[in-house]
Symmetry: C2
Subunit: 289 residues, 2 copies
Amino acid sequence: MDTKVLQRSEQDGVLGWDAYGVVEKTGDGVTGFKSGDKVYYAGDITRPGCNSEYQLVDHRIAALAPGNLSPEDAAAMPLTSITAWEGLFDRLGFVPQASANAGKSILIIGGPGGVGSIAIQLAHWAGLKVFATASRQQTVEWCKNLGADTILNHRNDLYEELKAAGTDAVDAIYCTTHMERHWKAMAQCIRPQGRIVLIDDPLNAVDLTMLKFKSVTISWEFMYTRSMFETDDIAEQGKLLSTVAKLLDEGALVTTRQKTLTGLTAQNIQAMHIKQESGTMMGKQVLVL
Amino acid sequence: MDTKVLQRSEQDGVLGWDAYGVVEKTGDGVTGFKSGDKVYYAGDITRPGCNSEYQLVDHRIAALAPGNLSPEDAAAMPLTSITAWEGLFDRLGFVPQASANAGKSILIIGGPGGVGSIAIQLAHWAGLKVFATASRQQTVEWCKNLGADTILNHRNDLYEELKAAGTDAVDAIYCTTHMERHWKAMAQCIRPQGRIVLIDDPLNAVDLTMLKFKSVTISWEFMYTRSMFETDDIAEQGKLLSTVAKLLDEGALVTTRQKTLTGLTAQNIQAMHIKQESGTMMGKQVLVL
């Protein structure tokens, strides 16, 4: 579910961006897809969403869905996979290949969430040493099963937790949630010349000077940038979804779907948003039409 | 002159980091230098500065001085060259080779200043299309002579100035001054997924959300990071100073020295700081002992 988009764009009418479906028809110039293909994508917030029977999507940001997964499992993946992949590889600059980043480390703040759950898996696949934050026993186990090497308890001081784990700096930080609460800890945990990627909006202005002496780099990751602005590299989004489908089919990644509701009803949509905003959700929820 | 360091570390006693001098003696394990060599460097703010007769410096952050320049001209270069080089190549990610970045563009805010004056030259050498800000006729000419392709007047709306110059986005921005005043204009001028490098401290907290929809990357460049933290890549600073010396000797770069004072007196040091803080300085001032 796309809580952040709901908060911002209720005026748009049709919500829902994470999608799995069957190609009805392709337009002129579309390559790589034909009628009947099963596809998955996260879409484009400048167009109506997928909580509807039919939807138009730019073929460059879609991919053939993983063949070995149920539709529900596949539908849980696009938005978070794109956000995690772009954050790790396009923003933090890690190499998007299996085991290619051995010797490097990352701290993933908000390990059990939708983005965290796939970021842990992709970082682990790419060879990074993964520190992830979690607090409850259930979410700690979840993060470990997804490939986190060390869990830090985000209810404690993260820098103290990191030092207790045997190091005083990480090469990069992926902050998936509560960036303001963790800002100071990020400034402490990041190595000199390290990189931080952010996805959640701060409510207030931020003290940037804390990161100056270390010459830190901070990136925003917003998965709709490529489609909103139709950037030159927009087709990278379709390509990364194809790679994710392959990794899911091979079992190198697992779906992060945790909960499924059936029926496109106002009640179900509301129930999903309430659960998502509760802050206790692990992985993703899926709505089946 | 190092106004920023003066403002922060008057308690350190000896100031002055930009330096040119003769090697008196080398320590064990020092390679690449011998007694009598002429060297230049910007030093390390965790050690006493160079406004003194003798100074200890880590050989990894020093280089042989350009041979074809006067000591005054050479002494004007280290701090600004390192800051400009690291900002362009280590933070913004451009390729540090002649003409290697053709087709890419950069906006340099504060073109006539110490860092701006060398950043314009290095960006031009590296093949970038250079937009630089200036306002007075004298500084406009100065920036053009250093290699700026287009001058934007920073007394006007920079985004309007950029559009009037025929484009609505640049690939990168090097903000050398007044980052808060230009923050909104930077958010407007930067292309989606573009990069911004900052060097001057904001007085207030900053609204980061303005840069989110474009997935912008913001880096701090602080030239003392490598020496303060003795980073793994500390020797890159000596190497880049060697390259800058070569480019100065070849005439691909010119010194940005504008003013020289003679004598290590309190009066001269004060006079230089007053001029620097006036905001009207083009290039750099040099003190000769």
